[in-house]
């Protein structure tokens, strides 16, 4: 694996303002990770998690206050403004609010980075035509941004960001201002950019479905720290961190909420367990569902029924969870749950905790 960006213990602090004067604000703390060349890496986190700071460090709009940052095999720290400008020219960026030049036509918007990069006029015209064709808005070349829809504006943004053939494209919440249908179109365009040009894409987002649909790698951030990072499937399927789990449940509603658990327990006597469905370990294909079914079948005294859950694909691999109600002799139930725990993650819903304190008396 070759990395195009590597963070080594990178920190970024801003001087405090107003009431917090003198107290630095830590936007990033001790971040270490690599962005693999040719990958689509998602950086996910809630607002204020430090995602935007992270991209602004990559294209050197801001400089780290600690640690080492290497972009395109060049160490950023210690570079002069002129060198940094050259580096920025080789990195494309698209934005949530598109940030197009309203006073320039679509083709002039796309041409601008080429002018900055010093391309001769004739080559510029050909390149602009080619780019507009690629993003599918060749017919809008002479229009102004205000005449375009959000999706068209972002296509212009993408064409403009790709103008100088950058190896790295940064997308800062690029679909957050778009409706679901347009989001899908723009995401598939980004995927196409990655596949056809081999452009490494860093997708900053707070939406898990964006990560799920195009990213192969993901980094989860919270309060300036990197919580976990790795292949999307691994991070999703084996999430340890509560924040990561929260993101997962925001896109796949597979785990019952406490309210649902309480309702289920009222409706179904027996033991309630949530079993994680994931790729069977080591096999590389198929889910562990087959093993789970066989195991359940080997306990004929236990009656099982699925009462909640969802199984879907992440990065083309199975993922989700199923909540079962298990009824039968206690000894069998204990043994079964123990055996299931060997196979996958099993969450038992304790009979007492889901109900409120008011129910305490009724149960006695």
């Amino acid at each position: 694996m070759t990395s195009i960006v590597s963070f080594r213990n990178v920190s970024k602090a801003y001087p405090g303002r107003g009431a917090a004067k003198g107290k630095p604000v830590h936007a990033l703390r001790d971040v270490t990770f690599d962005i693999e060349k040719g990958s689509i890496t998602g950086v996910i986190g809630y607002s204020g998690a430090g995602k935007s700071t992270l991209v602004r460090l990559i294209n050197a709009l801001e400089l780290p206050t600690g640690g080492r940052l290497v972009v395109n095999e060049r160490e950023l720290t210690g570079m002069g403004e002129k060198q940094l400008r050259g580096l920025r020219g080789g990195i494309g960026m698209i934005f949530q609010q598109f940030n197009l030049f309203n006073s320039r036509t679509v083709s002039k918007n796309v041409e601008y980075p080429l002018i900055v990069a010093g391309w001769p006029k004739a080559e510029r015209a050909a390149r602009v035509a080619e780019l507009l064709e690629f993003v599918g808005i060749a017919d809008k070349a002479r229009q102004f941004p205000s005449q375009l829809s959000g999706g068209q504006k972002q296509r212009v943004g993408i064409a403009r960001a790709l103008a100088t053939n950058p190896e790295l494209l940064l997308a800062d919440e690029a679909t957050s201002a778009l409706d679901p249908e347009t989001t899908t179109e723009v995401l598939s365009l980004l995927k196409r950019v990655n596949e056809e040009f081999g452009t490494t894409i860093v997708v900053i987002t707070h939406e898990m479905h964006v990560v799920r649909s195009i990213c192969d790698h993901v980094a989860v951030m919270e309060q300036g720290s990197l919580l976990e990072h790795g292949h999307v499937y691994d991070v999703f399927a084996f999430a340890q961190n509560p924040a990561t789990r929260k993101f997962i449940s925001s896109t796949i509603a597979d785990k019952p909420s406490p309210d649902t658990v309480a309702r289920l327990q009222e409706l179904h006597p027996g033991r309630l367990v949530t079993i994680t469905i994931s790729e069977a370990p080591g096999s590389g294909a198929g889910s562990n569902q087959r093993d789970i079914s066989s195991l359940l079948a080997s306990y004929p005294a236990v009656h099982d029924s699925v009462v909640y859950g969802s199984v879907t694909e992440i990065a083309q691999r199975p993922f989700g969870s199923l909540t079962y109600v298990l009824e039968g002799p206690d000894a069998d139930l204990d043994a079964l749950i123990e055996a299931l725990s060997q196979l996958t993650t099993v969450q038992q819903w304790p009979a007492a905790t889901a109900a409120g304190p008011d129910d305490e008396g009724a149960r006695r």
């Binding site: 709009l61 400008r85 030049f101 309203n102 006073s103 900055v116």
Partner: protein, 219 residues
């Protein structure tokens, strides 16, 4: 009433003097105002020429000068007018204080329009590797062209107003005509005439300004 045999040429002279004062002021004061505005913008904290001292001094001078009533400002800068123009009375002498006041007021208007440019667009240009100077001219000034034109149109009306006061130091013009023949000789018709001509000039300027701004706005 109006005796056109004498008033006709008088009116023509006055219109000419007013236009002369206004146009020269708009050109010189306009350029100076643009420079002051750009300097204010550039010396702001976080911008290309970031300089707290220059910014604060300029800011202070503008805040002091702007509220001075123009008729008092004329006599305040009288010694400078004499030094620069060679006389402190007449049409040319009126242009000097008019230009200074216009530059100061415009400086503020230009600065506000530049500051109003979407920071996201500035960031986009910087992310492409554009230098800060380049961003200022290619992006900030260009993106604020339409509001700048409207700002200049707004100032034009203020300059016409100043030109009327210039009659006080022998600047002539339509204001002087209205005061000398209309007010002092109790000829209300002349006052009305001067007002009518001023209204026409201002309306024409406003129409032109709106037209240009609309062409640049692309909304």
């Amino acid at each position: 009433m109006i005796d056109w045999t004498t008033m006709g040429p008088q009116l023509a002279d006055s219109i000419q003097q007013t236009l002369f004062m206004v146009i020269v002021t708009m050109i010189i004061g306009g350029i100076l105002g643009l420079l002051i505005g750009i300097l204010l913008y550039a010396t702001r904290a976080g911008n290309i020429l970031q300089n707290t001292v220059v910014f604060n001094v300029l800011n202070f001078v503008i805040n002091i000068v702007r509220p001075i009533p123009f008729i008092i400002f004329i006599s305040l800068v009288g010694p400078w007018t004499l030094a620069v123009i060679g006389t402190s009375i007449g049409t040319e002498a009126a242009i000097f204080p008019m230009t200074l006041m216009t530059a100061v007021v415009l400086g503020r208007i230009v600065e506000q329009n530049l500051v109003g440019v979407d920071p996201g667009v500035v960031e986009a240009a910087r992310a492409m590797g554009s230098s800060r100077t380049r961003v200022l001219f290619d992006v900030v000034l260009r993106e604020s062209l339409a509001p700048l034109v409207l700002g200049y149109t707004f100032i034009f009306i203020g300059v016409v107003d100043m030109s009327a006061v210039a009659g006080y130091i022998g600047g002539g013009g339509l204001g002087d005509l209205a005061i000398t023949y209309g007010y002092q000789q109790f000829n209300y018709a002349v006052t009305l005439l001067a007002v009518a001509v001023i209204v026409v000039i201002v309306q024409l300027a406003q129409l032109l300004g709106n037209f240009l701004a609309k062409r640049m706005l692309h909304r």
